[in-house]
Structure formats: structure tokens, C-alpha cells
Amino acid sequence: MDINLTLIMQAVGFAAFIWFTAKFVWPPMMNAIETRRKEIADGLAAGEQGRQSLASSEKRVTEMLNEAKSKASEIVAQGEKFKSETMDRAKAEAKAEADRIVAAAKAEIQQEVARAKESLRKSVADLAVAGASKILKREVDAKAHADLLAEMQKQL
């Protein structure tokens, strides 16, 4: 095992292989590895982001659903209220109408009564005149006794 020129040649060869590796093998390979690492990291981050956005949109959907539910129940309540109000108003109107009709009917009845009384009075006056003429056996001059008749009519 002599030390000889082989040593120097091996050192040169070694240096050449190191240079080759450092120039042509290591950088592109490391580059590929780093790029892939970055891509994987980005992918994982995107996945995480997607999961988060899914969670947040699920939350938003729930919120919207709750809002819609409360709005719907509000609308139902409003409708309920409107219905009862309308019914109350209709009832009140109907009652007023009924009162009015009843009042009109009563007034008519009174008028009728008055008219009947009037005609009755007249009939009674005529009857009285006729009775008186019969009693007097002669015809009472309506004209001559008009004042008397009118007064008698009033008294009835």
C-alpha cells in the first residue's frame, strides 16, 4: 500500500464528481423536492381553507334558516292580527248596520202607527159624523160643521 500518483488522480476524480453533483444533480432535484413540498403545503392549506369556508357557510345557512323561520312566524302573527282586526271591524260594521236597519224599521213602524192613528181618527170622525147624522136624522153639512169636525178630530 504505497502512496502514489493514484492519490492525486483520485482526488481530481472526486473533485470532478463533486462538481458534477453540485451543478447538475443536487440543485434540480432539490428544486423538484422543494416545489413539491410547497405544492403539498399549498394543497393542505387550500383544503383547510375549504373546510373552514364550508363550516362558515353552514353556519350562515343555519342563521339564514333561523331568520327565515322567525320572519315567517312574524308574518303569520301579523296575518293573525290582521284577521282578528278585520273580523272585529266587520263585526262592528255589521252591528252598526243592524242598528241602523232596526232604527229605520222602528221609525217606519212609528210612521205606520201614526198613519194608522190618523186614518183611524178620520174614520172615527166620519163614524161620529155619520152617527150624529143618524141621530139628528138629517144630514150634517160638512161644510157648515167643518170647524166642529176638525176640533173633534183633534180631540180624538
Partner: protein, 269 residues
């Protein structure tokens, strides 16, 4: 074995431990090249990094192919180790750790190839009488790696602290800035600087060399007859399985020490 000389245990092992050498200036000594080490490690390096490059060119940041996922696994593993030991800004340490790990792992893994079958293949297919297939069992390789790391660590130390700061630390750390302590500090630092590349390289070399030797020793069982062949095969299997651990573990340790030394070089005391 086509060796011309007589086959004894010594000649068998020596034959397996002989490098295919080329003498650049014809004399030997330092100007010798272990052709088998160089060729094997270059082929392995070209295959490994060619494969990595091929996968990298098709790399996508979308869904990866299974091969890409495998490469990414290795790169992610190295990247984690580097990040846990080194927080500095250098863009070189992580790819360097990957290179070290892959290269050392595959050079170590050459040990899995059965020594005698490979020896036969080298002799009869490639017509090479001597050929050592494990580059990390050559101390030149491990020293080359460790000294590269060592040189780089000094470069990083100077870069991080400035030349003055680095010299200052040589004399004033770890015991203190008192001039009386300067020699002690310097000696301490020199010991550290020498021991780091030595232990770094010799740990790997020792493990792989010992692994090779043990394979050969087990191979020698075959010389004692049929029972020896069976026993040798069983032991060979056991050692191979255990060696899988050693191969990966040593590659891992070598990479971790590379990272740690380079990280330590940039720390201020």
C-alpha cells in the same frame, strides 16, 4: 488462477492484493498509478452520477416516478443529515456529502463481488492478471477523499474566520490566548489537523481492507477439500451478510465525518 508461480496461501493472498500498476516515468515510486483503482472508481462514479443525472433530468415536481422517489429518498436523507450537523450557508456541503456517500458506498460495495470469481473474470475476460476491485481498499483512494475534505475544511475555516482569524485560532484555541499557552495550543491543533484526515481515511481503508482479507482467508478453506469448500461457503455467506452492514455503515460514517469536519471548520472557538 493463471498465476505462473506456485500456489501457496501467501502467494494467493499476495496475488489478490497486487495492484495493476502503470509506472508513469518507468521507475516506480510515487509516479505509479494503480490503474485498477482508478478505472473501477471512475466507472462506478460515471455509472452512479450518470444515473443520478439521468433521473434528475426527468425529475418532476409533480407525482414522481418510483426511481425518482428513490433518488429523492437518498437526497432527502443526505439533506437531513447535513441540516442536522451544519447550519452554515455553504451550498457545496450537501452535494459534497451526497457525492461522498454514493461514491464510497458503491466503491465499498465492490467488496460484494466474490474475489476469486472476479479474479477469474479479470484474467480471462479482460486479460489482467492482477486487478483489485475495491477502490476503497486502496489507501490512495481513502487518502484522496480524506485529504480533499481536509483541504476543503481548511479553505472553509479561512473563509469563515479570515486568514488572521484562522492563525489566531491555531495559537489561541482551545486553551487560551496567553502567550505561554501558544505552543501547547499549536501542538494540540496540529495533532488535531493530522489526526482528522488520518482517522477519516484509515477507518474506511482499514475496514474495507480487512473485509477483503477475510474474504480471501475464507476462500482458502477451499484448499482443504470438499468439507472445506462447504464450510468456506457458509462462512463466506455469513461474512458477506455482515459485510453489507459494514459497507453501508462505513459509507455513512465517512459521509457524516465529511459533514462534521466541514461544519466544525466554520465554527468559531
Amino acid at each position: 488462477m493463471a498465476a505462473a508461480h506456485e500456489l501457496t496461501p501467501t502467494s494467493y493472498i499476495q496475488h489478490h492484493l497486487t495492484f495493476l500498476t502503470h509506472r508513469v516515468d518507468g521507475k516506480g515510486g510515487f509516479w505509479t498509478v494503480n490503474v485498477d483503482t482508478i478505472v473501477t472508481s471512475v466507472i462506478l462514479g460515471v455509472l452512479c452520477f450518470g444515473f443520478l443525472w439521468w433521473i434528475t433530468r426527468k425529475a418532476t415536481s409533480k407525482v414522481p416516478s418510483k426511481t425518482q422517489a428513490f433518488v429523492e429518498l437518498a437526497i432527502g436523507f443526505v439533506d437531513n443529515e447535513v441540516r442536522s450537523a451544519y447550519q452554515g450557508a455553504s451550498k457545496l456541503i450537501a452535494p459534497m456529502a451526497l457525492t461522498t456517500f454514493v461514491l464510497v458506498l458503491f466503491m465499498n460495495a465492490m467488496d460484494f463481488l466474490p474475489v476469486d470469481i472476479m479474479s477469474w473474470i479479470y484474467a480471462n475476460v479482460f486479460h489482467q492478471e492482477t486487478w483489485r476491485s475495491v477502490p476503497t481498499a486502496d489507501v490512495n483512494t481513502t487518502f484522496a477523499l480524506a485529504l480533499s475534505v481536509f483541504g476543503l475544511s481548511i479553505f472553509y475555516a479561512v473563509k469563515a474566520k479570515g486568514f488572521g482569524g484562522w492563525i489566531h485560532e491555531l495559537f489561541c484555541a482551545p486553551f487560551g490566548a496567553n502567550p505561554l499557552l501558544w505552543p501547547a495550543n499549536l501542538v494540540f491543533n496540529l495533532v488535531e489537523y493530522v489526526s482528522k484526515p488520518l482517522s477519516h481515511s484509515l477507518r474506511l481503508f482499514g475496514n474495507m481492507y480487512a473485509g477483503e482479507i477475510i474474504f480471501m482467508l475464507l476462500g482458502m478453506w477451499a484448499a482443504t477439500g470438499l468439507a472445506g469448500v462447504v464450510a468456506g461457503a457458509v462462512l463466506h455467506l455469513g461474512w458477506s451478510i455482515f459485510h453489507i452492514l459494514i459497507v453501508v455503515l462505513q459509507a455513512y460514517i465517512f459521509m457524516m465525518l465529511t459533514i462534521v469536519y466541514l461544519a466544525m471548520a466554520q465554527e468559531h472557538h
